[in-house]
């Protein structure tokens, strides 16, 4: 197992720069998830770690050794592809043992490694099958098996679950987590699905536009997003944003509602800010309290209910587990608990303290 050190790494295709100054230290045995919308550069970064893309500038180290010029085959890294990339002309056993064969491992060792991986993944009965004769979930397992037989320095996952249906995805997610618990292998996992990121990661790296937006534990990103991008990306349904003005420890919303914050912020009085609040933190209040909003749509999800509202003409969402909301009338009243309010300055950067409030 290994640590991976990314220092000041840049990537450009001709004159188009797709990654800007990426700095990231991944500890030995850590599970790091790169998350962001498509085109944010997360896959490119992963492929650079694998050696499939060159590093334009900066330095990439595995276990302290510079690998910028090292061929992928010499990096001792395993990768699980979104398409699984199983060799169609080889059976499952041959797919899993190909890397060991290339390393000229002894026959008995190969057989033992394949058998071990197969039993871990429940593939024993499928070893003679060709990929064509496997279901999507089985192919995914073989791709995982191909990675673990090698006992590589690190595992790279490139959206490995996005071709599976929802139930299977959930199941494989749990299995990946369990396997990481057993193998304690350094893993880097790319996904655009924030639930996968939240559930799997020791640390999440949120990326946007080729720039790292925030690095931290999943709940840290959820509780204290560093900027509006992370705030909007993490959490489902997404955070609500409202324009407001800051003055002396409180914010004033468009309808003059004043919300007093738990502490003063390092902002000038009269500064334009954006206030964010998660749908699950909004409180449905009695008439006469809070702000009035009209109900556009009621969406029951089983576990709870999502109310789509118009607040001063802006789309606004509320999530509640209270069934009474199903019959919510043409108007409801919403209130914001002051401890759950996120304030972002005019450039979208978090104005509340980043450290947990005591």
């Amino acid at each position: 197992m290994a640590s991976i050190d990314i220092q000041n790494v840049k990537k450009a295709y001709g004159h188009v720069q797709v990654l800007h100054d990426i700095d990231l230290k991944i500890k030995d045995g850590e599970f790091v998830v790169l998350v962001g919308p498509s085109g944010c550069g997360k896959s490119t970064l992963l492929r650079m770690i694998a050696g499939l893309e060159g590093v334009t500038a900066g330095e990439m180290r595995i276990d302290g050794k510079r690998v910028n010029e090292l061929h992928p085959k010499d990096r001792d890294i395993a990768m699980v592809f979104q398409s699984y990339a199983l060799y169609p002309h080889m059976n499952v056993a041959a797919n899993m043992s190909y890397s060991l064969k290339l390393r000229k491992a002894a026959k008995e060792k190969i057989t033992a490694a394949v058998a071990g991986a197969a039993s871990k993944l429940g593939l024993e009965a499928l070893l003679d099958r060709r990929p064509r004769a496997l279901s999507g979930g089985q192919r995914q397992r073989v791709a995982m098996g191909r990675a673990i037989v090698r006992q590589p320095k690190a595992f790279l996952f490139d959206e490995p679950l996005s071709n599976l249906d929802a139930r299977l995805r959930e199941q494989m997610r749990a299995e990946i987590k369990k396997m990481h618990g057993e193998l304690k292998a350094t893993s880097i996992y790319v996904t655009h699905d924030q639930i996968e990121a939240m559930t799997l990661a020791d640390r999440i790296v949120a990326m946007h536009g080729g720039v790292v937006q925030q690095v931290g534990a999943p709940l840290e990103l959820y509780d204290r997003p560093a900027n509006m991008f992370v705030a909007g990306f993490i959490g489902s349904p997404g955070m609500n944003f409202l324009e407001a003005t800051y003055a002396g420890g409180s914010v004033t919303l468009a309808d003059r509602t004043v919300v007093t914050l738990p502490g003063a912020l390092a902002l000038d009085d009269g500064a334009k800010v954006t206030v964010g609040i998660r749908p699950e933190h909004v409180v449905l209040a009695a008439e006469g309290e809070g702000m009035a909003a009209t109900v556009d749509l009621v969406e029951p999800t089983g576990f709870g209910i999502i109310l789509h509202l118009s607040l001063h003409g802006l789309a606004f969402k509320v999530f509640t587990t209270d069934r009474a909301a199903l019959s919510a009338g043409p108007t409801v009243h919403v209130a914001f608990p002051s401890t759950q309010i996120h304030v972002f300055d005019s450039s979208g950067v978090r104005a509340n303290p980043l450290a947990p409030q005591a």
Binding site: K10, A12, H15, Q17, G54, T56, A57, N68, E69
Partner: protein, 311 residues
Amino acid sequence: MSMTADAHARRQDRRPWQKRLADASEPYLYSAPALILIIVVMLVPLVVGISYAFRDIQLLNPFSGGFIGLEHFETLSKDKAFYTALKNTLWWTGASVFLQFVFGLILALLLDKPFMGRGIVQALVFLPWAVPSFLGGLNWAWLFNPVIGPLPHWLYGLGLMSQPGNILSDPQYAMWGPIIANVWWGIPFFAITLLAALQSIPRDLYEAASIDGASWFQRFWSITLPFLAPTIAITVLLRTVWVSNFADLIVVMTGGGPADRTQIVASYIFTQAFKALDFGYASAIALVLLVLLLAYSLLIILLRQTLLNKG
């Protein structure tokens, strides 16, 4: 910013220069054998061939070989046989490609429907393509021969001919002989390419159209044709160029006769080169044909580009 990033990148690229050279030359190494062959056996002779158009090259005349400028082209501009050949080329190419395309499209549509034994039927109807062209030409020449072939007798029986004669020696209809042979031989090419394109049309489009109440013809017109259009454009273009250069059938079946009625430019070049042994003049004609075909191709490509931009 990107400029500086680029310069920065170059400075930071610390791969040893040998490795960088090896990486950059990889695709060239892969293409080298093919490229060398093409350049030595086709491009160099092409350039030499073009130079012949401006020289006096006669195989049996040891004093020939000098530069004569545009003399061949002056002769050519007054050569009645050349204009006849040009007109015949239009007729030959137009009729051949049109018929090959129409029958090829119908065949592709017929084969696109699943039915029992489709594999065998497909193999059989595509078989003419595998027949060597000269043999196809001989074969059809024999079929048109009243001594040995049934066609004249059938045409006579149908009352289309006053007596079982050979249309290949009838100045008025002779061209139809090679055209029919060419259509027979070329249908599979269109059918194969169009079938391949048909099979890549998503089936749910047809289902959606059926549910919307579109008739077979409406579906063909609004889904099939637009999807096939790029393939049709490119295959018709390639085929037109190819058929206008294709002299085998005419050389084998009629030799350009009777009375030059089936002489096309490609077979005229052949005649000049190998019967009259005047390679200079033959090259001049070939050059004119090449320019005409290039102009035609450019026109089609530009037309396609404008249509695509509009769409």
